[in-house]
């Protein structure tokens, strides 16, 4: 039918895995923001959820690294991480291979996307799902943008990929929800973990909320690396959602939580015609 929901959120593994190390005064408003997003997602009555994530070498490695990939299976599993470490129990997540195939064929009209009939979800998908569909009852279409192993696709290609996802979603009979997950500025998995450039984040989120295409595509990877760390490369997922939804964004939560290693973000976006 069409795209019926669009949003973005953080996916840092600390959000679940290090929950007990965070100040509850910071943690609980984030969890409340996830619950609100869960309600908004449910209210849109989606038949499937496309999650555009930046994975972290769970499935794709430098032996064969696609810039863009979409899952095409009826079942997925996750998390790939130690359940005790991530504090999310191993589970099976429904997919929809036939729907994936239709979407992929449409995306391929403009973007040479890879597909994968096997996909083990890592925290990039599992942390958001644990909040948004905790019963794991909504079919998921996993999507990956390589933000981990340079060279990375240029930002205008991430935008084009988002546009392709929108065109594809609008051609299928199902009601499609879209969520992009990632960090903004952050330096995860380094001794700097917890460093957050709040001013940079807020400027990016302002551009995102105004759906300022030129502004969103103005970052060079060198600038991002310097100002926002290697984790900042994940802006590609948020950018693709802006390209797909084309509307105004609404930032519903932003709060740096150093022990979670990221400025924790929850936002939704209007879907423009």
């Amino acid at each position: 039918m069409s795209l019926v929901f669009a949003g973005i959120c953080s996916h840092a593994p600390g959000i679940t895995g290090r929950a007990d190390m965070a100040d509850p005064a910071l943690r609980e408003p984030l969890y409340a923001a996830f619950r609100r997003m869960r309600e908004q997602l449910a209210a849109a009555r989606p038949d499937a959820l496309i999650i555009v994530a930046a994975e972290h070498f769970a499935n794709f490695f430098m032996n064969n690294m696609p810039s863009f990939a979409i899952g095409m299976a009826d079942r997925y599993s996750g998390p790939i991480e130690d359940p005790a470490w991530l504090r999310i129990q191993p589970t099976s997540i429904p997919g929809n291979a036939a729907l994936s195939q239709r979407l992929i064929q449409q995306v391929m009209q403009t973007v040479d996307v890879a597909f994968a009939e096997e996909w083990k979800f890592d925290h990039g998908i599992m942390v958001p799902l644990s909040f948004l569909t905790p019963g794991y009852d909504l079919p998921v279409i996993p999507v990956n943008i390589n933000c981990q192993g340079p060279p990375l696709a240029p930002l205008p290609r991430a935008w084009a990929f988002g546009e392709a996802i929108r065109r594809a979603a609008d051609t299928v009979p199902q009601r499609i929800a879209l969520v992009g997950t990632g960090g903004i500025s952050h330096w995860p998995a380094t001794p700097d973990s917890g460093r957050i450039n709040e001013a940079w984040d807020r400027d990016f989120l302002d551009k995102w909320s105004r759906n300022d295409q030129a502004g969103l595509l103005s970052y060079s990877d060198a600038d991002t690396y310097r100002e926002a760390g290697q984790g900042g490369f994940e802006i590609r997922t948020f950018i693709s959602v802006a390209a797909a939804a084309r509307g105004k964004g609404h930032l519903q939560h932003y709060q740096p939580i150093p022990i979670f290693a990221v400025g924790c973000t929850v936002a939704v976006m209007d879907i423009a015609a």
Partner: protein
């Protein structure tokens, strides 16, 4: 040169429970499948997270190897600093340390 092989080992180990079993039962046999330098092999065998970090192992891979070894989060973060202290800055990749040695931005 063989940083790719070091990272491939971590990638394979992280996603394959059967390799995790092999790692515990016959580490030498498993490591023999990868073209590692003596320094890399020694760092892996010794669980030397700090050395592997300095050699440039991608943080997302190394983070899970540390968890696999049973390291608590604060110990893992400190192990990376303890690698940089004697061995110098990270030599490859995009996971460089930019904070000061005693600057614990998240309190750990």
């Amino acid at each position: 040169m063989s940083l790719y092989q070091l990272q491939k080992f971590l990638f394979d180990l992280n996603r394959d429970p059967s390799l995790q079993s092999t790692y515990r039962s016959d580490q030498q046999q498993l490591l023999g499948r990868y073209e590692l330098t003596a320094q890399e092999r020694e760092a892996i065998a010794g669980g030397d997270i700090g050395m592997m970090y300095v050699l440039g192992a991608n943080g997302q891979l190394l983070m899970h190897f540390a968890a696999f070894l049973g390291m608590a989060w604060p110990d893992y973060i400190q192990a990376m600093r303890d690698g940089v202290r004697p061995h110098g800055p990270v030599r490859a990749g995009v996971y460089a340390m930019t904070t000061a040695m005693d600057e614990k931005v998240a309190g750990v």
